[in-house]
């Protein structure tokens, strides 16, 4: 998956990538040429006392260094461009894909997981690319260059490489193979420590009320000890790494001197070559080490890439029609025909064979216990889900044939969990209708019983709302969400258990106002409590995903045992 993603998303950057490779190559070659100049400064300059030569070669050296630096900077520049650009594109691709998802896919992944995938996981891949561009790409050039130069200096002495390079590789992998799983364990242990702390903070009152501080301290102590134990193990491996690498390097150079001495004795090697050979040996070993080290990034980035790929490869289950219907004859009629919905692989469908018609100017209520499928049912309307059997029709047309924008413009949804966006009261209210005037907003607030508290805020309509609407109370949030739907002036209202956070008086005033103001729209209300729906024109009773009763309150009391049971249970609750 990592390879696939890289190939696909690096494509637009190929000119930059070539730049990175070229500049890294130039940089490495410049670096490789410097040891020779160093040798010259000493051999020809210092030894012979030729100050002019020292200046000359010194200037040349500085010049090459400048070139090398310029190339490094260019490589870093292009590399950062590529890596950060890749990150940006990946984030955009994921975000776009999630935008196409239906609620089914979103709930399959879960919003938090999707967020992590868009941010953290992209970050991991981006980091790998950055390190590759700024460091890894240069290492093979350095290693190969080093080998060529070393072979050029002395073929036989190069045999040391055959021992030294594998020795270093073995030493590095000995540590890295042990380190990678430890990292993973460590991450879970850090998570555990943080989870215990989070639990303690959120449950502080309960912890204190039950006098559980000592137990909590023990629980934390265990987690803390376990984390430290793993951290110690990891740290010990780290402690071993650098001395080991240095030992391999140093032993290799001692070996070069020892065997080199024999070659010099036999007259096959010059002293200058011996020291130059040493430089190249070091260069090769450093390159190998660097490459191994960056290789550690790989497994982590691969896991992230898999998680990203999962999102990108998930096809949205709700696909907009190619040539969606935009012209509609009827207004605001909703019809479900044997609508069935089940999750793939699930034994029981969430909804089975649900049929009813909701007419304009009428209120259709849907009642049933939690988990009976009410929310799923109303989510079929705006195509947050698609039926797996039967059909949902709006104004006589199957929603799957409607242009999504046309469909959505007809529906005003007030979800179960009132969610507000960061901004102000006004920006939230205008969410579905950017052109609404302040008067429109106030009249919607009037109906939603929200005028009082918005007026009480110092900035009124411009009062800031934090993300999710966490800075207003649950009841206020719900009323703003209702007002938001009202401002949109849709033909179909869907209230998904939207009155639960309101007290009776407000709830009743709100419903009365709704009845007064919203006369020509189709209203669908999901509720859990009988009092909310008692006056509805039509009540649909849902139990375990099927319709078990349809009618008005009075009719259902006679005809539906399930409805009677619900009513009774809400009454006996008090008697107890």
């Amino acid at each position: 998956m990592l390879g696939k993603i890289l190939v696909r998303y690096l494509k637009p950057f190929w000119p930059l990538l070539i730049g990175v490779i070229l500049f890294q190559a130039a940089q490495s070659i410049a670096a490789l040429s410097l040891p020779n100049l160093n040798a010259d400064i000493i051999d020809e300059g210092v030894v012979k006392g030729d100050t002019g030569f020292i200046f000359g070669t010194g200037a040349l050296m500085l010049g090459i260094t400048l070139v090398q630096i310029a190339c490094s900077i260019a490589a870093v520049y292009f590399g950062a461009r590529v890596a950060m650009g890749l990150g940006r594109d990946l984030r955009a691709a994921i975000f776009r894909r999630v935008g196409e998802f239906s609620e089914r896919e979103v709930s399959k992944f879960g919003a938090p997981s999707l967020i992590t995938r868009t941010t953290n996981d992209v970050q991991q891949v981006q980091m790998l690319v950055l390190m590759t561009c700024t460091m890894l790409i240069a290492t093979p050039i350095q290693a190969v260059g080093g080998v060529i130069f070393a072979l050029h200096e002395d073929l036989q002495l190069s045999l040391i490489l055959v021992v030294a390079v594998p020795a270093l590789l073995i030493a590095m992998s000995f540590i890295i193979v042990r380190m990678v799983p430890l990292f993973r364990v460590m991450q879970t242990r850090i998570d555990t420590v943080n989870r215990v702390l989070r639990e303690q903070l959120t449950g502080m009152r309960v912890v204190r009320a039950f006098v559980r501080e000592p137990v909590e301290r023990d629980r934390f102590g265990v987690a803390n000890d376990e984390l430290t134990e793993t951290a110690l193990k990891t740290g010990r491996l780290f402690a071993l790494m650098f001395p080991m690498v240095m030992l391999v390097l140093n032993v290799s150079s001692v070996a070069v001197l020892w065997f080199g001495a024999f070659r010099i004795e036999s007259g096959e090697l010059q002293i200058g070559s011996l020291t130059a050979f040493l430089s190249y040996l070091i260069q090769i070993l450093m390159a190998v080490m660097m490459a191994t080290f960056i290789a550690v990034l790989l497994p982590r980035a691969a896991v992230s890439a898999d998680r990203i790929g999962e999102v990108l490869d998930t096809e949205p289950s709700v696909v907009p029609p190619v040539d969606g219907v935009t012209e509609l004859k009827q207004v605001g009629q909703v019809e479900l025909r044997s609508a069935t919905f089940s999750y793939p692989g699930a034994e029981q469908p969430v909804l089975r064979d649900v049929s009813f018609t909701a007419k304009r100017g009428q209120t259709t209520a849907i009642i049933g216990s939690t988990g009976s499928g009410k929310t799923t049912l109303v989510n079929l309307l705006p195509r947050l889900f698609d039926v797996t059997g039967g059909a949902v029709l709006v104004d006589g047309i199957d929603v799957r044939e409607l242009d999504p924008d046309t469909l959505w413009s007809k529906i005003g949804l007030v979800p179960q969990r009132a969610y507000l966006f960061s901004g102000t009261v006004a920006t939230n209210l205008r969410y579905g209708n950017p052109d609404a005037t302040d008067d429109d907003l106030w009249s919607a607030l009037d109906i939603a019983q929200g005028r009082d508290f918005v007026e009480a805020m110092p900035e009124q309509l411009e009062a800031p709302i934090s993300q999710g609407g966490t800075n207003v109370s649950g009841g206020q949030r719900q009323r703003l969400a209702i007002a938001r739907a009202l401002v949109k002036r849709p033909e179909i209202y869907v209230f998904d258990d939207s009155f639960s956070a309101l007290d009776t008086a407000t709830d009743q005033r709100l419903r009365a106002a709704l009845e007064r103001e919203v006369t020509d729209a189709t209203v669908i209300v999901v509720a859990q409590r009988v009092s909310t729906i008692i006056d509805a024109d039509q009540i649909i009773v849902i139990e375990d995903g099927t319709v078990v009763g349809t009618g008005t309150h009075d009719e259902l009391l006679q005809t539906s045992t399930e409805y009677a049971e619900i009513v009774a249970s809400q009454l006996t609750a008090e008697v107890a």
Partner: protein, 709 residues
């Protein structure tokens, strides 16, 4: 004397630095790689890019305090320093002794070119005669054995010594890192332990003032960051410093003049690194700000996914995301690019100094003030010198970040604690549960008095209902009973004993609490029920579970009482969670009970069970109930009516109705005329649980409740 040719020996630096090979591209230190990788356990979303470094407000003292936390490991730290010094010493000596080896090879090579029998002096004389004075001077510095080749036994000896030197240097360096690792890990362990213990000693008012996310971040992210900074900087800081000092000493021994030239590298390197770091720091901060902004966009887009669609805003949302995404791209590109300049820049300084030394050294050799071997060695050392310098510079960044985190953690550790338990503490002998408020006054802050001169008595076994709108301060009373907060005046007695003279543990173990937010922790259902009494037997747990209607649904779970509840308790419903907390209170057998009747929207059957369980729990116990149900309120022995933070009325239902005051108004608005909603007076919402009230309403409507006038 060493007539060494140019040798670019690696030196045995136990640090992860690249070789000090002249003019080779200086590789970023491996530790830097580790750090960029996020290091061990690098968490956060941008763990890979380093933390944004806020300028510490108080760097010096906080850094000292952080170092001070290493004090318990003093003996080990001394060991670490000794090991470090030894290791660096051996490493620094490396090139000098290795120079001898080159020397032997060199002398051997030259000697073999001179016929046996000719003395060194003859060669020199010959050279002088031919006018090659320089070469003559050069040869005179060597110890030649004409006619003989390389002295392999001498070479073996020297190389053997160097090998030993390097092995020991590596071993010492490893031991040093090993011990230091233990020191840092144990220090972090202690810091975590201390912070956790501190949390339990902080007054609840502290948690009110602090945002939970902020606090969480301090106890988790900041400590992680400290751990990483300590781990990565301590060992390198030490080794780098020691190396710089060691090399500097040797340099001054060889040639004070050249050492002065080399010293230029210090301000140059540090200056450049600081300059770049300061700039990149700002860019990193910008990158973090933009990351935050983008994450906000993503979070909103995903959390409000359905709304975005149905309200037809996906285009705008995508456009805004694109904008933020672009901004982040620009910021992070800048940060990466600028911070990527450090390496080439320090490399340049290294080469610059190298050339300077070569030039000045060359002049000194020709003028005869310095030997060639010394220049050679000196150049070696100058390479060893700039490397740790640039490391020190880049570490400053990491260190700052760590100290900034430490400062935030220290702030938490320094926060005022709750008053200590009285010593000796008293404890009520009887356990009847008679609770009395005597002239209690209290306020959360000094400006707005919340409760003034409140007196009330809850007789054993009686029920006190607290009614009033949200935010009226109903939980304040609960907080005072549990002594989560301290009184400003008056006293609260339990069975005749002032609760302030009891230990908090004693008081709280006599008090049970069932709150609206059903806090369950990760563990089995059994553990969660036994929370208040870990020593409870299985029979007791089952009895409590049965009384709280938990037993029934537990049996439908595959693992029964051993079902693990996850973080959000996602595998059981909200109502079931509430039942578990009630079972918990049953098991704890408190003499005083605090109940919050408010329930989140649970389905009606579960709600019925919650209510039954609560009434059963209340039986024969003194209870304070934050009441939402008419029946609870009506049957209460005492009703406290709270408005805007103070108790405005107290009495029984009948008494209060007769008074025709706040309670009567509230009753009128909320319970008596639910169907006449449109005529309902526009009073603020007084009772928050719509659920309970709607039920009341239906009851009133459908059963002809005589009270529903």
């Amino acid at each position: 004397m060493a007539g060494k040719k140019n040798e670019q020996k690696p030196t045995s630096q136990p640090t992860p630095q690249p070789t000090p090979k002249p003019a080779a591209p200086e590789r970023p230190a491996l530790a830097a790689v580790a750090q960029r990788r996020g290091g061990p356990g690098g968490g956060g979303p941008f763990g890979g890019m380093g933390m944004p470094v806020e300028k510490s407000m108080n760097f010096g003292p906080s850094a000292r305090r952080l170092i001070g936390r290493l004090a318990p490991e003093r003996a080990k730290l001394v060991g670490v320093i000794l090991l470090g010094v030894t290791s660096v010493l051996l490493a620094v000596l490396g090139p000098k002794i290795l120079g001898e080896a080159t020397n032997i090879i060199f002398e051997g090579a030259i000697s073999s070119t001179i016929p046996a029998g000719v003395t060194q002096d003859q060669v020199i004389a010959q050279l002088e005669a031919s006018g090659d004075q320089q070469q003559a001077d050069f040869i005179s510095g060597l110890n030649l054995h004409p006619g003989e080749g390389i002295d392999f036994s001498a070479l073996a000896l020297v190389l053997g010594i160097v090998l030993l030197l390097y092995v020991f240097s590596s071993v010492f360096s490893w031991l040093q890192s090993y011990v230091l690792n233990g020191v840092t890990q144990r220090t972090v362990l202690r810091l975590r332990r201390e912070v956790e213990a501190k949390l339990h000693r902080l007054p609840l008012s502290y948690f009110d003032k602090m945002q939970r996310g902020e606090l969480l971040s301090r106890v988790t992210n900041d400590i992680d960051n400290i751990s990483q900074s300590l781990q990565q900087t301590l060992s390198q800081l030490l080794i780098s410093l020691l190396t710089v000092v060691g090399v500097l000493i040797i340099m001054f021994v060889i040639s004070p003049l050249l050492a002065l030239v080399a010293l230029i590298a210090i301000p140059l390197t540090l200056g450049i690194v600081m300059l770049i770091a300061r700039r990149s720091q700002k860019l990193f901060v910008a990158q973090w700000t933009h990351t935050g902004a983008l994450n906000g966009q993503i979070e909103e887009g995903y959390s409000g996914h359905a709304l975005v669609k149905v309200f037809g805003r996906h285009r705008e949302v995508e456009a805004r995301f694109g904008e933020k995404n672009d901004e982040l791209y620009k910021a992070s590109f800048g940060a990466q690019f600028i911070s990527g300049l450090i390496m080439p820049a320090t490399m340049f300084v290294g080469n610059l100094v190298y050339v300077l030394i070569a030039v000045v050294g060359g002049i000194m050799v020709t003028s005869g003030t310095l030997s060639l071997g010394d220049v050679q060695a000196f150049i070696q050392y100058s390479r060893q010198f700039t490397q740790p310098l640039s490391q020190l510079g880049s570490m400053a960044n990491l260190l700052q970040s760590g100290v900034a985190s430490a400062e935030r953690v220290f702030e938490l550790l320094d926060a005022d604690e709750q008053s200590p338990d009285p010593d000796p503490a008293t404890s009520p002998t009887a356990a009847t549960g008679r609770l009395a408020f005597e002239h209690v006054s209290f306020s959360y802050d000094d400006e707005t008095p919340l409760i003034t001169d409140l007196s009330l008595v809850a007789e054993p076994g009686s029920t006190v209902a607290i009614v009033g709108p949200t935010g009226a301060g109903k939980t304040t009373l609960v907080n005072l009973v549990m002594r989560f907060y301290e009184l400003d005046g008056g006293r609260i007695t339990l069975d005749g004993v002032d609760t302030a003279t009891m230990t908090r543990d004693d008081l709280r173990s006599r008090t049970g609490m069932v709150l609206q937010d059903t806090w369950l922790f990760g563990g089995t259902i059994r553990d969660n029920i036994a929370y208040g009494r870990p020593d409870a037997t299985d029979d007791e747990i089952h009895a409590a579970a049965e009384a709280a209607y938990v037993d029934r649904f537990v049996h439908s779970l595959p693992d029964g009482y051993d079902t693990e509840l996850d973080d959000e308790g996602g595998n059981i419903s909200a109502g079931e969670k509430q039942l578990i907390t009630i079972a918990r209170a049953f098991l704890a057998r408190p003499s005083v009970l605090i109940l919050d009747e408010a329930t989140s929207s649970v389905d009606t059957r579960t709600e019925l069970m919650v209510q039954r369980a609560m009434s059963a729990l209340r039986k024969d116990r003194t209870s304070f109930v934050i009441a939402h149900r008419l029946s609870t309120i009506r049957d209460a022995d005492l009703i406290l009516v709270m408005e805007a933070g103070s108790i405005v009325e107290q009495g029984t239902h009948d008494e209060l109705l007769k008074k025709n005051g706040a309670y009567a108004r509230l009753y009128e608005a909320q319970f008596a005329a639910p169907t006449a909603a449109e005529e309902a007076p526009a009073v603020p919402v007084l009772v928050p649980s719509a659920a309970a009230l709607q039920r009341e309403a239906i009851q009133a409507e459908l059963t002809d409740d005589p009270l529903a006038e």
